[in-house]
Symmetry: C2
Subunit: 480 residues, 2 copies
């Protein structure tokens, strides 16, 4: 990067917050999907919307690519730096600016950790509902960029349903306010468009989120099943009966056994499938729903049933689920976490297909996922030291996503597209749809400076067109 740009950046944020030496930049070379790494040209850490505006304006002038980064916990390499680009870390924008009990709104900066909002709001008897597994570490800015989900999202919606407004800095360095505290704003819903746009449309520098009152009571039912199919059907039965649990999670045999060995959560190790169903609300309502749900689970063939009798027990039951990923990490040298979503009614059929593929590829799969949302997280267990096993895993993973799309679902539930799934977007969308995404992208960033190469692939006919031009040019130059 040109010296004059670095000097200008130092003028904006102070030289301490412009990093160019490789050693200090190392932590920024990847996000949570660490198979992809790249060193940026520089890392800049602004501390205010105004500083972000100045940085963007400068980058726009010099046509420098910008990749924004929250806490770096993303799982699709959406925050992978570009070697010639600026990595914009929002970590210093980490203040909770306001929590208002009357309006139930919190105004926060993007670098605030997801869980920190609920921790502070709890003093007012409130909390922020979307709860990605990474909520201890992930930032609300990253949540907005990826439209993050979590256990609670079945009942309380995704990030997009819990954000009411955002301050956005455009690629030109202009400040816009999207959305607002009122119920339904006029104009196009640019806030929903920005949410989940993976840093490709603008830089979010302030976020207002809706808070909910902490429920009086929350209790968990743990139900073991001797088949995945029965558990999947039970999920549909619960919701068809009008019960929307605050969480409805499923685990299969490998996951149960790994989690139980690790967390001693009291899971039935002999079960082939396990459901964790959390009900929250007033005591009367929870009791009523508990008895209804119990009956539904029994009719669906549950072989074991346990209800949390204390907050300790409830926490222990969740601990098994929440530590399932690291627990699986203990039974296999490596694992690859997939993230596909299917209509809930297809759960049994898709899980069965994954099981068949597992045998075909000779690779074990542990399933631990948000069953109520139909959001699968198959963990493919492999050993990167065995030659060809990573490639086989990637092929298996791509097959799983293809099955999800065929079942009427999609290639990502909450981890985003990023670099990882950019090619799978062709399974999900046709060329006309991808072209429309590009036109919308161009409405914000006509020159493609914001996080280029992520999220939205070129339509196939363009790729073919480019390949033709390219091969033509190559021919031309070899001839010339």
């Amino acid at each position: 990067m040109k010296r004059e740009v670095i000097t200008a950046l130092e003028g904006i944020v102070g030289s301490k917050f412009v990093i160019t030496d490789e050693e200090t930049m190392r932590p920024y070379e990847c996000d949570g999907l660490s198979v992809y790494t790249e060193m940026p040209a520089c890392v800049v850490l602004p501390a205010s919307t105004e500083e972000v505006m100045a940085i963007m304006s400068l980058c726009y002038k010099y046509k420098i690519n910008v990749v924004a980064r929250g806490a770096g916990t993303g799982l699709s390499a959406g925050a992978l730096p570009l070697s010639d680009g600026l990595l914009l870390s929002l970590a210093r924008l980490n203040q909770i600016l306001d929590i208002d009990k009357t309006t139930s709104l919190a105004v926060v900066q993007p670098g605030v950790r997801n869980l920190a909002i609920s921790e502070q709001a709890s003093r007012e008897g409130l909390y922020y509902a979307p709860d990605p597994s990474s909520q201890i570490a992930c930032s609300i800015g990253g949540n907005v960029a990826e439209n993050a989900g979590g256990v609670h999202c079945l009942k309380y919606g995704l990030t997009v349903h819990n954000v009411v407004s955002a301050v956005v800095v455009t690629v030109e360095g202009e400040k816009l306010v999207l959305g607002g505290a009122a119920f339904d704003l006029p104009g196009f819903d640019l806030l929903a468009l920005m949410t989940g746009s993976e840093g490709m449309l603008g830089i979010v520098t302030e976020i207002t989120v809706r808070l909910l009152p902490l429920p009086d009571v929350a209790r968990v039912i743990l139900a073991g099943f001797d088949s995945v199919e029965n558990a999947a059907n039970a999920v549909n039965d619960i919701i068809a009966n009008g019960i929307i649990p605050a969480g409805l999670e499923m685990m299969d045999a490998y996951a149960i056994s790994a989690a139980e060995d690790f967390a001693k959560a009291g899971y039935p190790k002999e079960a082939d499938a396990l459901l964790l169903c959390e009900l929250d609300g007033s005591e009367e309502d929870v009791n009523h729903q508990l008895s209804q749900t119990q009956q539904i689970l029994q009719q669906a063939g549950a072989t074991t049933l346990k209800i949390s009798e204390s907050e300790d027990e409830r926490a222990r039951m969740w601990k098994g689920r929440k530590s399932a990923f690291p627990a699986v990490g203990r039974i296999s040298p490596d694992y690859y976490c997939m993230d596909g979503t299917i209509p809930r009614s297809e759960l049994a059929s898709v899980l069965n297909q994954i099981h068949q593929l597992s045998r075909f590829y000779g690779l074990r799969v542990a399933n631990v996922f948000h069953a109520g949302d139909g959001n699968l997280h198959p963990l493919i267990l492999f050993d990167a030291n065995v030659q060809g096993e990573l490639e086989k895993t990637e092929e298996f993973g791509a097959e799983i996503l293809r099955i999800c799309v065929e079942a009427g679902g999609c290639i990502t539930g909450e981890h985003g597209v990023g670099v990882e799934k950019i090619n799978q977007m062709h399974h999900q969308f046709n060329d006309a749809e991808l072209a429309q995404f590009h036109r919308v992208k161009a409405a914000w960033d006509a020159e493609g400076l914001l996080n280029p190469g992520k999220g939205i692939p070129e339509p196939k006919h363009c790729q073919e067109h480019k390949t033709l031009i390219h091969s033509h040019n190559t021919e031309g130059s070899s001839n010339g």
Copy 2:
């Protein structure tokens, strides 16, 4: 319109469904805001997505403006025709294609009436939650175009929260599928962008909506207050206590008295303000919430309290609210219905300001509105036959919207911008924000053929710029 275009349109939909004679076109000259009228060049009624694609492709070729129209119940002249444009009525796309109990999804064409969905879904124990007051007549396509609300939206969300996918025909005549049945789709949220876009981005020809299980029980509490302020505070108290009613409506003195005379709903005519609070869910939960709400209302100073003891009584209580608009029509020669939204916490203050303005302008105001959402509907009572009173009413209305924006609210809750409020968009958004709306518009419709002149005004500096150019040109031509 050129004869060759009319012939081509007749070739697409059949000559019966291309209307060009003035008498038959008369019903299409306005929507529900009938102060604005315009006769279109022709009216076309397609019967399928394919026909819409062919029409759009033809119009794109000939650069003909297109205004789409649902049931014509809109209240902001969003479906006002253009004299040189084609009016595209979606009334013949009126089939419910599928209602699926397992997935709780309904696939419908845009011309289906809102209430018809719930009527048919009720056979499966389901219903469609968003319920605009016009739900007997309004169409789901219009609901999507305006992001319609209703009494239920406090608890169950706006249209945008209840639509899962849509088939859209672009201005070029291409078909796109936005959204999908899976929980969180990758790519930009173009479905949310399309919802509420007032016919300016594309033509929706098929919609998949989420259905909810019919609640076991619904009951209404009717609470009278001797001040608007106490009622407004009670609204905030209910929600601050974690109760989200299925409807929370407020009426003030003129509205109570007019509605009671008209509907004999059992309203306390001596009250200065009335709250209708509906609670739904399981019997246990409703009973628990009823007793909590009763206590909150009493503490907030309710002077009368009545709980519906039967479905008949509940229907009667709602009848007063639902007929409040026509009832007010009986006590005044004319009325003008406003639609602004404010943060709930500002209710008392804003209602007080409206009351002061009412005295200043010497015009009565009846307030009847979705209090839980902060969505105001002040009805300004006037007499169009008294000279200057319409102008005074419009001025008063603009003042009310200005107050809403100043209170952190917005210029429309559920009626849209259309033609009516296009100038007020300048109160709501600055030039940079309006420019961004235009860029997003251009990403769908670069030539501005879809419903031009509605929804999004030109940024002011552009207007000034044009005025300058215009005056310059005029000077130039007078000199030349």
